[in-house]
Symmetry: none
Subunit: 155 residues, 2 copies
DNA sequence: TGATTTCCCATGGTATCCCATAGTTAACAG
DNA sequence: CTGTTAACTATGGGATACCATGGGAAATCA
């Protein structure tokens, strides 16, 4: 599971250290690296390990072959995703097009999101953080406890 | 389940012993440590074991994938949480930013809250305790007995 | 050949591991 | 009942390993 927020530097070659605990969660999934793609929802990147890609693949397989959403997902995720391998010290090099999409320059903010993570530029992240906190507080009631979910699932 | 209140010391390296009975409840959940994050509601920390995080994850999975509130919850909960592993003697090191949020210095108050716990600075905890006692007295009626809950669920 | 990219080694700082001590509770035999 | 041993909890400090980062050499591509 990906948790916590880390901010790491991007050097002149476009290399950035993937946080050690992120590396630990993808290690043993069969690919020593991460998959990263442009978020369809904003100027940031989304990423995960091999297992996430497989899960997404299965989820898309469940969609109707002629559902336009299916083609869109396939295009964005599988077409746009890059496999970034760790070097011997746990860094990856971010391709220029991905950096451009997220407005990345000198630093990258890694945000753990459970089974996936996001990469932001510090500036745009700071702008969105407050908004996220407000939304989370206002919609706290939407999160149901396990007991409540199970009770409602029965009916 | 996390119960009772314990006060432990924080050493110069930011290490603090997690109360033994807290350790006992998270042991066997698959992660030998606790997850801790800033409370959105005050100057203290909240924490729990792997099971709590998984429950929250499931609750979020229940939300619409395109609901902005869903991403907000993921960012606040998973992005804000830190995974703190026990050392061989059952301590964790509190990151500086978490200590700053809760105003922690030399001591930490661990408060069991059922399926989660809180970490307070002794000073701010004392100030809030009296207030909590008063609130609990006033809202006594909200706690329903098991019989009453089952009776109401039938109808 | 020039420009990238990939691999490899070096370094400073931090965090983790490991050992040691003291106090408390539990167990236990006399 | 009582004194002793044994286990565990909380705490302190030193050594070690790891992390993030920088730069250079070899390999690859246009």
């Amino acid at each position: 599971m990906f948790v916590s927020t880390t901010i790491n530097g991007i050097d002149a070659k476009g290399r950035v250290s993937v946080p050690a605990d992120f590396r630990a969660t993808v290690t043993g999934q069969g690919f020593a690296g991460v998959y990263v793609w442009r978020s369809p929802f904003g100027d940031y990147l989304e990423g995960g390990g091999l297992r996430l890609l497989e899960d997404l693949h299965d989820a898309i397989e469940d969609l109707d072959p002629f559902d336009p959403a299916r083609a869109a997902h396939e295009r964005v995720i599988f077409g746009g995703a890059k496999a970034l391998m760790f070097d011997s010290t746990g860094r990856v090099t971010l391709p220029k097009d991905l950096m451009a999409h997220a407005g990345l320059d000198k630093q990258a903010v890694f945000i753990g999101m459970g089974q996936r993570f996001e990469i932001w530029d510090p500036k745009s992240h700071a702008e969105t953080e407050e908004e996220a906190l407000r939304l989370a507080r206002e919609n706290r009631g939407a999160l149901k406890s396990r007991r409540r979910r199970e009770r409602e699932a029965q009916s």
